[in-house]
């Protein structure tokens, strides 16, 4: 869903500026950003650890999945999209802060998704969808406490 506004090149530029330094660090730290399954799994784990209650994220996320284009409805694709935009470092608070900024930029760009009428930023909707699709049953992602969701391997 979009607010029907014209694109804002300046904001796109700002997104790039905002994320560029960390992209640079990531690029240098990884020889193959999407070719290493265990590295990506760790990054996704970091993203999902921002949810205080993963079940809430997944509950919202199940509706988000329906709102996303079919091509995005997989952990692999969502991971690729989110990790393509978001810097994921070991510092969860830094990641949280950058995710918050990214969400605000989404809204500024009209890059939003309607979920049961709620207007969410595309980033937060994708993160929730990721929570829903990955599933808290996977101890590799969520630790041993989750339950009820199918285990999904991250390719």
């Amino acid at each position: 869903m979009s607010a029907g506004r014209a694109a804002y090149p300046r904001r796109q530029f700002l997104k790039g500026v905002l994320l560029a330094p960390i992209f640079c660090r990531r690029a240098s730290a990884r020889a193959a950003p999407f070719g290493d399954g265990s590295a990506r799994q760790a990054e996704i784990r970091t993203l999902l650890s921002m949810f205080a209650d993963i079940e809430v994220g997944a509950r919202v996320g199940r509706r988000c999945v329906e709102a996303l284009p079919a091509a995005e409805r997989s952990v692999a694709r969502l991971g690729q999209i989110l990790l393509g935009d978001l810097p994921v470092a070991g510092d969860i608070e830094q990641t949280r802060s950058l995710v918050g900024q990214r969400i605000r930029l989404d809204f500024a760009d009209g890059d939003t998704i309607g979920v049961d009428g709620w207007v969410l930023s595309a980033t937060e909707a994708r993160l929730c969808a990721l929570a829903a699709l990955a599933g808290p049953a996977d101890p590799d992602l969520y630790g041993p406490s989750g339950g009820g969701y199918p285990r999904i391997r991250i390719e």
Partner: protein, 525 residues
């Protein structure tokens, strides 16, 4: 002097200089302008000094388009007219409302807002308002306290003033009773204008008393000020049966019927339930008086002119109710922070997501600790939107007749697909701005551009049915509110508005009436 038409013998001819048809805000304002001037004024009121069912019933009609309000319930037919039940909210139209602009077809007035400003200024006193100042920051609102999404670039704080409200019938009756040269006729039911053979000049107005006896009012100048529905009805009813009516050579009388659109726009789950809403002084919705001026003005949110122009969006007023109720528990989710799962309601879940992903939770918690206040769970947002002028939306005459033999109105209220598309675009823009600013997240009342929210209705502001335009092919009256086709008939009231804007219409009705009175004085001089 007040005269009951029932006391006047049938067949009488009343001679006057100005005959004003309708004693509401417009008619009374114009009559007052001539009090003691040496000009004779006959002010005709169809009803009495108080409400009478028998008179009110004459307002009955049918709805043949989109369902609309009962026409006997959305206006009043006695001395003072609809000011007998208006709420008092007053504000001028915005400058942009007068402009012809892209994306809003059929817009554009013959003059701009600055032309009307002197009469707006005078109208303030008529409506017992404060100074002609509608800058909210000039009334004590502090810009620093306005949350980010409402201080540009798309949305801004705006304000209206609150009239006591002025009941014209009560407030101005003593003055008119004592005024030299002004005769107020009660129970004077206008039936139709009689034009000369060329149709260029009105020679008489036929008037009936409740008993059915008819008289004629012969006047140099006539002013039709019976409200947005009746103005069209009387013009369409003038002339022989089967004719198209008076001043209707271009089939414009009754068209462009507009009312403001009222509906729920959505629910905002606040990221910070302790957000400072001091700037929002709508005391009628939350009962909290934030400002010493709160009883005299009401703030609301509107689109900035730049955004309206750039995105071709109609004007609107945005207001909300503060929700402390159990059904919107986003605050609970925020309070629980990380320790407890949210309760399962959508608002609570969204609140939790905002906290987790949007980075607002710690701020909220600090704010809650340092600034005790009434926490607000959510805002229930309402829009009052400007309709897009639409020639297919019209007041016509139905087949049913009233007891005087006049055909009753048939209201064919219509909206275009663009009305809803643009309304939804504004809802989405507001939601995005609320998210961008971190104020919260908004759930749209409906996210479907083909259907309106269930509670949408057209309100009681009847606008546009004798619209103003310099070109007779595009308007019923000219820039002086005179019928293009008739030399001595003027129209007053919101029926002459070319666009509705978002403003409650009474202040503009009074301003235009004062302007018309000045024009007529010039003509009579």
């Amino acid at each position: 002097m007040f005269i009951d038409m029932r006391s006047i013998p049938a067949g009488t001819a009343i001679e006057t200089d100005i005959c004003i048809v309708g004693a509401g805000a417009a008619g009374i304002t114009i009559a007052r302008a001539f009090a003691g001037s040496g000009v004779r004024v006959a002010l005709l009121e169809g009803g009495a000094m108080e409400f009478e069912e028998e008179s009110q019933e004459l307002y009955g009609g049918s709805s043949v388009g989109r369902p609309y309000l009962d026409p006997t319930a959305c206006r009043l037919r006695y001395f003072g007219g609809t000011t007998n039940h208006w709420g008092g909210w007053s504000l001028p139209l915005d400058p942009i409302d007068f402009e012809a602009r892209d994306g809003i077809p059929h817009g554009g007035w013959p003059f701009g807002r600055s032309h009307l400003d002197p009469w707006y200024d005078r109208a303030q006193k008529v409506l017992q308002l404060g100074p002609y100042n509608y800058d909210p920051y000039g009334w004590g609102i502090r810009r620093a306290l306005v949350p980010a999404p409402f201080d540009g670039p798309h949305f801004a704080v705006k304000m209206l003033q609150s009239s006591p409200p002025t009941r014209f019938g009560t407030v101005y009756a003593p003055e008119l009773r004592a005024a030299d040269g002004v005769s107020v006729y009660l129970h004077a039911n206008a039936l139709g204008f009689e034009a000369d053979e060329a149709g260029r000049r009105i020679r008489a107005l036929r008037v009936a008393s409740p008993s059915g006896g008819q008289v004629e009012v012969r006047s140099r100048i006539y002013v039709l000020s019976s409200g947005g529905l009746e103005n069209a009805r009387l013009l369409l009813s003038s002339g022989p049966d089967g004719s198209q009516g008076l001043g209707n050579d271009n089939d414009l009388v009754g068209r462009f019927f507009m009312v403001h659109l009222e509906y729920s726009a959505g629910l905002v789950a606040l990221s910070n339930p302790y957000t400072d809403f001091q700037f929002y002084t709508n005391t009628s919705s939350n009962g909290v008086v934030y400002s010493p001026f709160a009883q005299k003005f009401v703030s609301f949110i509107g689109l900035t002119e730049d955004t309206m122009r750039r995105l071709a969006l109609p004007n609107l007023k945005i207001m909300w109710y503060f929700d402390y109720g159990p059904e919107a528990r986003a605050i609970d989710a925020l309070r629980r922070l990380r320790n407890e799962p949210a309760g399962g309601s959508a608002a609570a879940d969204i609140g939790a997501i905002m906290h987790d992903l949007g980075g607002v939770g710690e701020f909220v918690f600090r704010k809650a600790l340092s600034r005790p206040a009434i926490p607000v769970a959510a805002l229930r947002v309402r829009f009052s939107s400007e309709p897009i002028p639409n020639p297919d939306s019209r007041i016509g005459l139905g087949d049913e007749r009233d007891r005087f033999g006049m055909r009753r109105i048939a209201i064919d209220w219509r909206l275009s697909a663009d009305d809803r598309r643009k309304s939804l675009a504004t809802q989405r823009l507001l939601a995005a701005e609320i998210g961008r600013a971190g104020l919260g997240r908004m759930q749209l009342s409906t996210d479907d551009e083909t259907s309106w929210p269930d509670d949408m209705y057209g309100n009681e502001h009847h606008i546009g049915t004798t619209r103003m335009h310099r070109d007779p092919k595009l308007g019923v009256v000219d820039e002086n509110c005179r019928l293009h086709a008739v030399e001595n008939l003027y129209v007053a009231g919101s029926s002459v508005f070319a666009t509705a804007g978002a403003a409650n219409p009474t202040l503009t009705i009074v301003a235009l009436s004062l302007r018309l009175a000045d024009h007529i004085k010039g003509k009579l001089a």
